[in-house]
Symmetry: C2
Subunit: 564 residues, 2 copies
């Protein structure tokens, strides 16, 4: 058995069904090996950046192992934005490249044609990065890569194989290496269960604050069972709204662009059980630091580094969310009746939910309600993702929704939708703005060529909307390169659709029925034309109480709700 056979066997055994990349001289042996198999399929991307994002989309559906490959030099560097995205999103992806010459020093500028020192470049945006140069290392490094990618808080690994290894033979005994994912430390389990029980008994207004760590731990359903059982309101971070949406008592997401009633509920809570939520926001938001002063926070997180963030009144538990939730379900705890608190939450929601619905959000809401059959929704970066988040809460759907959460990689969603399609083999909806649409437009060729049922909704406001909003707020409507009057422009989207051979329709307004299009199993581009003046609202002015968002609601209503 040679290295490429072993590696492809390994990936198949781990359940990988689809991989993404572009051929290049040093990785042809690997691509040929993929091509021989029926259990796994290699897909040709049209930019290595997109190949990396495609692996992200594939993995992000359910935090399963993903794979992207690229040739050396520019092939590898083109993947870097996607590697950073995978690190930021905790995606267990093997990024594979190959080199034909080992870099031994850095004195010469390009000692070997095209070769760069791959591992050092991505050291801080991977969990592990290694160049493999001898046959003895191969089995150990592949297994090590898998373990590191999958264990604890997941994340990407870079494997850079010497090109002459692909065809080298491995010893039979070496290939029988067994992979064991280490168990998490469980010594804090008793403690966390005891504390949750104790604090819940003493709390009048508890909330569960979920983060994407719940899904990463594979504990989404357990969360629903637990939360529904104890009848406590559930809030989430914006990008884990699909985790929260499974629960009966879900009240949206908090944040500086959060749902107004969610921020209200958060402000009134006296206990926060944070599960798989890194609580990144209070570090930079005075509003949330203020809101935390009057409550106790229990923080369940698998990543000790994230727990090192300094949150007032908090207790930290370095433990896997799944372990905790499993225990809570198996041995139900005693809790108080919180129906009065639920009533307060319902009142806040009822009074506030009609605010903040602009035309973009209403349109998206109509679309979301028509694509329930799509297993996954991919969002790009910018105003579009915030509008979709808000619509999602209103629509009450529960589909998986995939974001670029903290890295914010503009233009990633078309490629992520491709990856998500290959993971789910179900239609995918992709929301994207007009600027992001341009960045990886070349991947329309992959979609068209393979006739993938991906519905791309281009929210076209003819501007770089999010930067424009910042210019408006901070610099007084001084726009440069963000609007059509200041040097930005958008190509003819219908023309592009035609050039790529993809069906196109313009979405005129919320009354139009485009459900027929969505029924088809072929690609579709829907252009939603919006005025550039639609801003990202509401938002939380720095230092405001977190329930006091801008634009303000009527003073008397605010006072009434404040007193609840």
């Amino acid at each position: 058995m040679n290295v490429s056979e072993y590696f492809v066997d390994f990936l198949i055994e781990k359940g990988v069904t689809d991989v993404f990349g572009i051929p290049g001289g040093v990785i042809l042996d690997l691509i040929y090996e993929f091509n021989k198999r029926t259990e796994i399929k290699a897909h040709l991307s049209y930019h290595e950046q997109a190949a990396a994002f495609e692996a992200c989309g594939y993995s992000q559906c359910d935090y399963k192992l993903g794979v992207a490959y690229a040739t050396r030099g520019p092939g590898f560097t083109n993947m870097i934005t996607g590697i950073a995205e995978a690190f930021s999103e905790s995606l267990p992806i093997l990024f594979v490249t190959s080199h034909s010459g080992k870099i031994v020093g850095h004195s010469m500028r390009f000692e070997k044609e095209q070769e760069v020192d791959t591992a050092s470049m991505v050291r801080h945006i991977t969990k592990y990065a290694v160049a493999i140069d001898s046959i003895e290392e191969v089995v150990e490094e592949i297994n090590k890569a898998y373990i590191i990618a999958m264990e604890g808080r997941k994340g990407p690994v870079l494997l850079d194989f010497s090109a002459d290894l692909w065809n080298q033979k491995l010893n039979d005994h070496e290939t029988e290496n067994e992979v064991i994912i280490r168990k998490f430390k469980n010594d804090v389990l008793n403690e966390v269960i005891k504390d949750i029980t104790k604090y819940l008994l003493n709390s009048q207004r508890p909330i569960i604050l979920v983060g994407d760590g719940v899904r990463q731990a594979g504990a989404t359903e357990m969360l629903k069972v637990f939360a529904d059982d104890i009848n406590v309101p559930v809030l989430s971070s914006r990008c884990s709204q699909d985790v929260g949406a499974q629960c009966n008592n879900y009240y949206g997401y908090i944040g500086s662009h959060g749902i107004r009633y969610s921020n209200f509920i958060f402000a009134k809570a006296d206990l926060v059980i944070a599960i798989g939520n890194r609580l990144a926001f209070p570090i930079t938001s005075k509003s949330f630091i203020k809101a935390l002063a009057n409550k106790r926070v229990l923080r369940i997180d698998v990543d000790s580094n994230e727990l090192s963030r300094n949150i007032p009144n908090s207790v930290k538990y370095e433990i896997d969310a799944k372990v905790v939730l499993e225990e809570l379900i198996n041995k139900p705890i005693t809790v108080m009746n919180h129906s009065q608190w639920i009533e307060v939450c319902n009142k806040l929601k009822f009074e506030l939910k009609m605010f903040d619905l602009n035309l973009a959000i209403k349109n998206i809401n109509c679309i979301l309600n028509k694509v329930k059959s799509c297993q996954s929704i991919c969002c790009d970066v910018g105003n579009n993702e915030f509008w979709v988040s808000r619509s999602y809460v209103e629509s009450k759907i529960q589909n998986r929704i995939i974001y670029s959460k903290s890295f914010g990689a503009l233009g990633c969603s078309i490629a992520k939708a491709i990856g998500a399609y290959y993971f789910t083999k179900k239609p995918v909806v992709c929301f994207i703005g007009d600027q992001g649409f341009q960045l990886n437009v070349q991947e329309l060729q992959l979609i068209a060529q393979n006739q993938l049922p991906i519905y791309i909704i281009v929210l076209n406001n003819n501007s770089s909307g999010m930067i424009r909003s910042r210019e408006k707020t901070r610099y007084g409507e001084c726009y440069v390169h963000t609007t059509c009057q200041s040097g930005y422009s958008v190509p003819d989207i219908m023309g592009l659709a035609q050039a790529y051979g993809i069906q196109y329709c313009e979405y005129m307004n919320i009354n139009e029925d485009i459900v027929t299009f969505f029924g088809e199993k072929t690609p579709l581009i829907v252009e939603v034309k919006l005025g550039e003046e639609i801003d990202l609202e509401p938002n939380l002015p720095a230092g405001n109480d977190c329930e006091n968002m801008s634009p303000e609601i009527p003073y008397l209503l605010y006072k009434e709700l404040d007193k609840l």
Copy 2:
């Protein structure tokens, strides 16, 4: 004076006229400052990768200072392929980004939203990379960056400014820092002149082998004066053919895909005066190592690290090419009459130049002869660049021709053509293959929006030709993802041209007259449809004598020429 004012003043003072990037929150202050000035113009790109390539194209015209900027996180990582390209091409470019939080450790995955440790990621693909966090460092670091980028062998620098610095005031006395580019060590000058004189007097068959270092040193015209004066044949590396082409006795470029008669001439030479040529090829080519055994090599290079390559029979001089050529022109040396040797070279050229001209090369030749008015020609990566190189030698034009030499960044040429246009303000011709065309197709929007006179020649063979050739040679016509039968495809190029609003024409054959199109001062896409079966020929099978290329020429002719 604040930091953004100082920095923009600095760039204007250094002669920078055009910069490239996309706005983002942390760099708005800088973009506003660019926008206030008339001496410098910021151009909106549609992908930061392209912005980086655009700065490369701008700089590469004449190795002048270039600038690209991007926002933090994905904006920065999107530039990385372009940064590596600039390093590989020795381009003095300031890559500018900004951060809103200083990275102090690497324990937490994304300590600050979007922030990555920029400097560590590009340390080995820049001459210098620094994050600037205090106002005291600003003036020194900007000046240091410029000196480092420009001195000796040029190259890129990364400046990552803390976002809160842009508006901070500098002390007046700080801003009066004077920039002095250090002079090169000249103590070897006497030695190199003495040696060139001595070896030339004893040589029957000398050649001058130029590299791009001659242009980088700003010594192209001096080379011509010197070479024409001493009447010695000039050869070049493929990618410095435009330097060689200035000389009366230019006989093409050598290499494994070199011009057949150039390799013949190289084989017969007894003295090689290598100027600004790093002689990278003999390291990997047995053929050229063999060819060097019978000759003396004098190596004039400004980069001591490149001189560390081990070349047989060589003498090394770490010195700037311009300093040497200036001296040789000012104090002409005594040389033998080499007319007999020139006759041999002419005979080789005459007998061999009709070989190796396929349809692609003939077509390109026709096009090149019609675009002499374009100051610059940009080539992409792949078969297209080799065909253009070969056509260029036959066409006898002398235009600046810009390649991605050793990094081989597929898809860079459209963006480089944009940069080259802004540097020269003259029409630019851009050659690109059908795969490279797809990678940065989004930049057609910049071209269309600004109606730049860029003529894009798409050599469409419906395949990833270079990788396909390798598959054919090494794996016996086993194609995967490189031909239309094996999963690769090309969108409708005419349709894309229409969607972007760019004039399109199909180039049918070498007799067609498309000169009228080239006369216009608007963008144009010319599609040259080629059969996918056109391979990259001739090439030099490993270990062959360097004049014995494949496909072979008639045996009797080979024998006759071998004896000359």
